[in-house]
Amino acid sequence: MSAITDQITAAKIPVGDAAETAVTWLQINAGWLFDTISDALNALIDGVTFSIESIGPIGMTILFTALTYALQRSVKRCLIVALGMLFIINQGYWDRTIETLSLILVSCIVCMGAGVPLGIATARRKWLYTVVEPVLDLMQTLPPFVYLIPAVIFFGLGQVPGLIATVIFALPASIRLTHLGISSTPMALTEAATAFGATPMQRLVKVELPSAFPQIMVGLNQTIMLSLSMVVIATLVGAGGLGQPVLNGLNRMQPDLGFESGFVIVALATILRVMLEVRKA
C-alpha cells in the first residue's frame, strides 16, 4: 500500500509552486496594472460612498422607497423597504451600512458592466461559451479565501481586494443569466426583425435585450445577493462595513454584536430584493 502511495506522491504536481510563481511574476511585471485598477476602483467606491453620505440616512430611505414604488407599484413593498431602512438607522449601523452599500453598488456596476457584454458575446459564439463555462464554474466553486490571498498581494488591504473577491464570486451569475436570456430569445422574433431589415445591432437592442431583460434583472438580483454574502469575508481583508461587527463579535464572543449586525445585513438584503425583484406580469 504505502509503496503505491509513495509512487503517487513521488512526483508531486506543482500546483502550489505554479500558483506562487504566477503570483510573483504578476506582482513584478503587472504591478502598474494592478495599481491602475486599484486607483480606479477606489475612486469609484469613494464616489459612491460620498454620494450616499451626502444624501443622508433619511434621504436614502425616501429615495429607496420612491424607487421601490417606481419599480414595483406596490405600497406593501414600499412599506417593507421604509421599515427596513428605519430599522438599520435605529440599530445605529448607518455608517457601516454606507460602506457595505457602496461595495455592493460598485460590485453591481462592475459585474453588470462586464457580465452583460460577456453574456451577449458568449450567446453569439458557441465556442466562446465552451471556453468560458469551466472558468465560471471555477470562479463559483473555488473557496473565496483562496483568491483573497493574491487579491491582497496585488491590491493591499482595504476595500479593493474585498471588491475583487466579491466580483469574482458574483460575476458568473450575470454572465450566465445574460447568456441564457439572449440565447433563449424566440427564433420567431429575431427572424421577424431580420425580415423587416434589422441590422445585427438593431436586433440586439430592439429584440434580444428586451427579450432577455427579465433574466438580466434576475442576474442583477443574484449579483446583489451574492455580493451581500461576501460582506463578512470582505471584512477579513479590511473592507470594513457590516461584516466588521460580526467579526468583532466572533473574536470577543459577543452575541449581541453578531446578531445586531447580522439582522442589519438581512434587512439590507430584504430591502434590495424587495426593491429590485422582477415579477412576472
Binding site: 420567431a188 422574433l189 426583425a193 425580415a195 423587416f196 431589415g197 429584440v207 431583460f213
Partner: protein, 347 residues
Amino acid sequence: MNTRPPPRTAVEFDRVSIVFGDRPDLALPLMDQGRTRSDIQSATAQILGVHDCTLSVAEGEILVLMGLSGSGKSTLLRGVNGLNPVVRGEVRVRDGDHMTSITNADPATLRRLRLSNIAMVFQQFGLLPWRSVRENVGLGLELAGQSPAQRTVAVDAQLALVNLSQWADRKVGELSGGMQQRVGLARAFVTNAPILLMDEPFSALDPLIRAHLQDELLELQKSLHRTIIFVSHDLDEAFKLGNRIALMDGGRIVQCGTAREIIANPVSDYVADFVAHMNPMAVLTARDVMQPGDDAAPQSVDAETPVLQIMEMIRDGATTLAVTDGGARIGTLTPAHVMGRLVNPRG
C-alpha cells in the same frame, strides 16, 4: 376590351436550390439526379430544402405555394428575403425599374430591400410581446430610422385599415390570435413594400377566423395591389386566394397554374390526389370536359360555359352538345364523357 400592358415580373425564382447543411456541394449532384430528401440525407448528411425551382410572379398577383409539410414551400418563400440562403440559382425581385438579385445582394442592398420592398407575415405572428400594438406595427419604419412622430400617421392609418385602432396601446399578448395576426398584417402593410411574403399566416387560427381573415386580405388586396406570395397547406385556402398555385412535393415544384388548369389537367397522381376533393363544378368549363373534334350536334355551347350549366342541360335531356369557340366547332360533349372527366380528370 381595355388594353393594359402585361404586368411586369415582381419576383423571379431562377432555378433556385436551397440546402440545409455545411456541404451543399455534396448534395447538389444527387439532387440533380432526382434523388429524394431522405436518400440525400443518409448519403451526405445534407438536407434538401428546395431543388431547381423556377417560377415567375407578376406584379399584383397572388401566387400560392402549396404542398404538404416538408414540401419545401416555406423554404422557397424564405429565399425571397434571404432568410434562407440560396446555394445555387438566384432569386430576383423588382427594385424600381429593374430586377435586383437577393441571392447575390451585399448586406446593405439586402437590408434596403427588406426595409422597403419585401415585407413578411409569419405563421406564429412574430410580434414582440413587450411592445404595444402600435409599437409592433411601426417596427419596419422604426428599423428604417423613422422617429415615433414620423411614423405615427402611417401606423394609425394602417391600424384603422385592420380595425385595431382602439387596441393601439394594448400589449399584443392581450389580443386574440386573429387580432394578433391582423397586427402582423398591419406591420407588413405599413412599410408600403410592394412584395408581401405570407408564411401560412392563417394556419394557427381557428377556421371561422381564418375564413374571415382570408376575406379581409382579398378585400385589402383590391385596393393595395401588392404582389403576394402566400404559403399554404390548405387547398381551399389556396384556391380561394391564389391567382395561380404552385404545387410542391419533396422540395420541387410539380405543377404551377390556375386552379382550373390544375383541376382540369393534373400532371401526376400526386397532384390528382391533392385536388381530388375539390369541387370541380365551380372552376371547369366546357372546354375542359369536351372531346376534341367536329360534330354535327343540333345544340351548341360556348367553350367557356361553366360545367354546372352543361350538367343542367344534360339533366334537361341534351344528349350531344357541340362546343364552339368563336363560331368554330372545336369539340363535342356527351353525358358519359363529361361524367368520366369529372370522376377522373386524368382519364
